[in-house]
Amino acid sequence: MQLFEKNNTLSGRHVKTDQSTWDQVPDDFLLRCPKCQRVIFRDQLDEYMTCPSCDYGSRISAKKRLEWLVDDYEEWDVGISPADPLHFPGYEQTIAKGEKHSGLKESVWTGIADFGGQKAALGIMDPTFIMGSLGQATGEKITRMFERAIAGKLPVVLFTASGGARMQEGIFSLMQMAKVSNAVAQLKKAGLAYIVVLTDPTTGGVTASFASEGDYTFAEPRAMAAFAGRRVIEQTIHEKLAKDAQDAETVMRHGFIDAIVSRQEEKATISWFLKNGGRYESGN
């Protein structure tokens, strides 16, 4: 049963009279911010892809981020790609999709970069590659990045974005948490600084390892930062979570994040910390 006749609504009639106007509207003309729910025009978004009303930084690929984050860079370990240790059915297609979306062979980009004259090893996890999940090759690339940083006496900057361990790789994914953590420990032993920037979303095994091991932990506005996801908490423990319970701002209030830094300020902030946040040597 229907209360009103569908075609007789004002908007329905309007559309019918001038169908061609719709053809003139671009497909992604209007967007809705997933955090503050405001409707925004596509044209309002600049290269930073942040919401003009709440400053939320939308999920972007590592390569997009590089466009405005650094002055110069050189990529490392370009060829490392996922193995399929469990022979998981359909995994190859999942990987192919990730490659297409991100332009990467794994869920992290690594290399050396220049932040306003300050050099650092840089890692950027890519949420468009299987949700930035932590595969064996992801862990390998990040570990090698730390090892090269130690050898070259470079500080490390890591942008995290991850749904957590990569289920398709089973226990081998889990082992990456310990492997990368050991590499972080080596960097610390060498007296080099480690800067983490949490981006939306950083969860699960990545939160429970190298995303929480930085000397400095920054986060982008309203980025989700959590261990257990909302669905797990609500469905297995049956506890209701506040809407903003896993926002970076809340996690900062709880004592686990140093500062919220918007994308527009990231380069300058990181550059300042690379210069002043490491071991002080006079004459430098």
């Binding site: 469990l86 998981f88 064996q136 862990g139 570990t143 361990a165 289920m167 398709q168 790789e169 089973g170 226990i171 081998f172 994914s173 889990l174 082992m175 990456q176 948490m177 310990a178 492997k179 953590s181 050991n182 972080v184 420990a185 080596q186 699960g204 095994g205 939160t207 429970a208 390892s209 190298f210 995303a211 929480s212 091991e213 959590a226 261990f227 257990a228 797990v232 908490i233 297995t236 423990i237 506890e239 979570l241 319970a245 896993q246 709880h254 004592g255 686990f256």
Partner: protein
């Protein structure tokens, strides 16, 4: 019925050995030390000092509790951030005094509750991975039931990991795995097989160092564990701390 899901059932069975029995038979003079030294005392982790073949050791174990009331308090053996911090505090103390650390794990995973999130579950596990892994004293883990994901890894990031014959270790429960990847928790048997969570498979993959034979009698089971631990402690104590840490680093680097 495949072998993997059988192992999962046995690992979760209520007949299997408990943390109380481990304390009773392996560490008769166990003295419990409470608290994380900062915020609270998670009953899902029981830790303390005992003598083992004449030498003092620190023993830390996940605990499920023996009746419903206890189990509720212990979240059915799922540690809270405070529990991981207690484990780290005791392990550091142990390293400070040159005692080996023996960890016993039977947990479905870290507790995924609201309060656990609030007090930094992810950060607590991360700190264990970062710091426990660098302590210059032998650290051996025995998985005596379920070894669930990061919550188990946080107590299994030392020198060696052994598993009882009927125990499991995986990135996620087979039910969770099946429901996430296939949206069908009913396919858990298939998931268990694919996950490779049985001790034999994990030994083959180099994830664990050995499998401890099963014994129906709990006292006999503890003797089996005892034999492995005393032998491994001796082996690890013969190494210098540099050798020990290099070996530990290599253990995970190979993945």
């Amino acid at each position: 019925m495949n072998q993997a899901i059988e192992t999962v059932r046995a690992a979760r069975s209520s007949n299997k050995i408990t943390d109380q029995e481990i304390r009773e038979y392996l560490f008769p003079d166990f003295f419990e030390l409470h608290g994380d030294g900062a915020y609270g005392d998670d009953p899902a982790i029981v830790g303390g000092i005992a003598t083992f073949h004449g030498q003092p050791v620190t023993a830390i174990m996940t605990s499920r509790g023996k009746n419903l009331e206890e189990r509720m308090k212990k979240h059915f053996g799922q540690p809270s951030p405070s529990g991981y911090r207690k484990a780290l505090r005791l392990a550091k103390q142990s390293a400070h005094f040159g005692r080996p650390v023996l960890l016993f794990v039977d947990t479905a995973g870290a507790y995924p509750g609201k309060k656990a999130e609030r007090y930094g579950q992810g950060q607590a596990i991360a700190r264990n991975l970062l710091e426990l892994g660098q302590l210059p004293t032998p650290i051996i883990t025995v998985i005596y039931g379920e070894g669930g994901s990061g919550g188990a890894l946080a107590l299994a990031c030392g020198d060696e990991v052994f598993m009882l014959k009927y125990s499991m270790y995986s990135v996620l429960s087979p039910e969770g795995f099946a429901s996430i990847l296939w949206k069908d928790a009913g396919r858990s048997a298939e998931a268990a097989e694919l996950l490779g969570l049985t001790p034999d498979k994990l030994l083959e993959d180099g994830v664990v160092e050995g499998v401890i034979p099963f014994a129906q009698d709990k006292q006999v089971q503890c003797r089996e564990i005892d034999q492995v631990l005393s032998q491994e402690i001796k082996k690890l104590q013969a190494l210098s701390s540099e050798e020990l840490l290099a070996r530990r680093h290599e253990r995970f680097r190979k993945f």
